[in-house]
């Protein structure tokens, strides 16, 4: 537990603005995607005018994983021209994922890294708050990428570790694991019953990039499209499996879910599975191949007769 709470506004913002301005003035980069302050808190901003780079901020409200805007489907973002993206340590792992899967060339995007000490769980506030066990986003605890390496520029001073939240995600996953099967079934079917199939989780995920998502395949309809718990279970489990070893735990899916399904628990469980079975951890090194699609001759098979 840290003695001092993380200051609400991070250092390096002046450097961030200067670098952004210089990139735009040099002409190679046409748009900076970062965060700005707005009526309801921090939000993504697209800056094309060097004179407007003072809009860029970086504080504990800057939760959004901006890598989602690199999704090849977003034509109207791509049309703006070459992008310089502001990324935290968690965000940039998603860039590594895109590079790993050949969705992006390294030279296609300029990455401005920011040294982050964590973000708020409730981030839609008029002013940034210091991080405490009560206010910090649980997923920040134990962050392993506070010195991101996959960057072209890196601003800010090293920050203290994010505080330990009141209850960590690992504790909540462990509590679920400790429950009998029937109780887990009751828990998850209740949660999936809330799903309205808005697909916010998919839309915002930086690694959900398929041109045609399996849920949209109608001949045959593999995943029932109705929003009843049975269709929702199929959807949520399929999405989870498709992200095994790829999910960077940015937490955006859970944050965007309008009905509050605890996707972070599924995501963390997926990470536990690939770590325990295949000794794999998602990082910002594009060279380490994802576990699914790869194999070893001596992979675990204790569940196979």
């Amino acid at each position: 537990m840290t003695d001092t709470a993380t200051a609400p506004v991070y250092t390096g913002v002046d450097d961030l603005r200067r670098i952004a301005r210089e990139l735009l003035e040099a002409g190679d980069v046409r748009v900076i995607i970062g965060w700005e302050a707005a009526r309801r808190g921090a939000r993504p901003v697209f800056v094309s005018d060097p004179a407007e780079t003072d809009k860029l901020i970086f504080d504990t409200r800057c939760v959004h994983n901006l890598v989602t805007y690199l999704n090849p489907r977003r034509d109207h973002v791509a049309e703006l021209g070459k992008i310089a993206l502001v990324v935290k340590g968690c965000d940039v792992k998603a860039v590594a994922g895109l590079l790993r899967e050949s969705q992006l060339g390294r030279a296609d995007v300029v990455l401005i890294g920011v040294r982050c000490g964590g973000v708020l769980e409730e981030n839609e506030l008029p002013a940034a708050l210091a991080l405490t066990p009560e206010t910090v986003a649980p997923r920040c605890y134990g962050c392993d990428n506070r010195e991101p390496t996959l960057t072209d520029h890196l601003v800010g001073e090293p920050q203290p570790e994010p505080p330990r939240p009141v209850m960590t995600i690992d504790e909540r996953v462990a509590a679920l694991d400790g429950q009998p099967l029937e109780e887990r079934w009751a828990f998850w079917t209740e949660q999936f019953g809330k799903c309205v199939r808005c697909y916010a989780c998919r839309q915002v995920c930086p690694l959900c990039i398929c041109e045609q998502c399996i849920v949209e395949k109608t001949r045959p309809q593999w995943i029932e499209s109705s929003a009843h718990p049975r269709g929702n279970l199929s959807w949520n489990v399929t999405r989870a499996i498709h992200l095994a070893g790829r999910c960077v735990d940015c937490g955006e899916c859970e944050r965007f879910c309008p009905v509050g399904i605890p996707l972070s628990l599924l995501n963390r469980k997926l990470q536990d599975i690939v770590r325990e079975r295949y000794d794999y951890t998602v990082s910002d090194d594009p060279e380490n191949a994802a576990p699914i699609g790869d194999y070893r001759l001596d992979d675990q098979q204790e569940f196979i007769k």
Binding site: L176, D177, L181, E182, E183, R184, W185, A186, F187, W188, T189, I214, W222, I223, E224, S226, H228, P229, R230, G231, L233, S234, V237, T238, A240, I241, A244, L266, K269, L270, I273, V274, R277, Y278, P291, I292, G293, D294, Y295, R296, L297, D299, Q300, Q301, F303, I304, K305
Partner: protein, 161 residues
């Protein structure tokens, strides 16, 4: 649901690879081995072809249990299909257990073309496990107004001739 349901005949769907398990099952048949008759086989070229969605769909459509079986590692007809399947199904198995699906409803095995006896054992064990667990009504009932299945053995009405 731990009482034995002796009056219920489990519906088991088995996804098996053509080169090993399907042939092994055939051998079990030609050898006149006695085994439970609750299993419907679906033949695929390789376990690597099996998408976890097949298993989900089987449960949605009334299967009480599922078997997935293929060639032993190093013997895959397509060299590495079963290695990919092994990782895929490890993740699937773990996630389904986390969601609360009883792993005894899903049986994974490597059964080669000469292992008719092993296939018999896999089938009998799977059927016995699922018989003890009971029908998987809970899964289908997740969709309200789900149409009732006809009694065991047939799903839906007779098809028009």
């Amino acid at each position: 649901m731990t009482d034995a349901h002796t009056d219920f005949e489990p519906r088991i769907t088995a996804f098996v690879c053509n080169w090993c398990t399907y042939t092994g099952a055939d051998l079990a048949g030609t050898s006149r081995l006695h085994m439970a008759s609750n299993v419907r086989l679906i033949r695929l070229p390789c376990t690597g072809r099996i998408d976890p969605l097949f298993i989900v769909k089987a449960f949605e459509r009334g299967a009480d249990g599922v078997i997935v079986s293929g060639c032993h590692p190093a013997d895959c007809h397509y060299t590495s299909g079963n290695y990919h399947a092994r990782r895929r199904f490890a993740v699937f198995h773990d996630i389904m257990e986390f969601i609360g699906v009883d792993p005894r409803r899903m049986t994974f095995s490597w059964v080669s073309a000469s292992e008719g006896a092993k296939w018999k054992d896999v089938v009998n064990e799977a059927v016995a496990n699922v018989r003890e667990l009971g029908p998987y009504e809970a899964y289908r009932a997740l969709a309200p107004e789900a149409v009732e299945l006809e009694p065991s053995g047939h799903s839906g009405a007779e098809v028009a001739s």
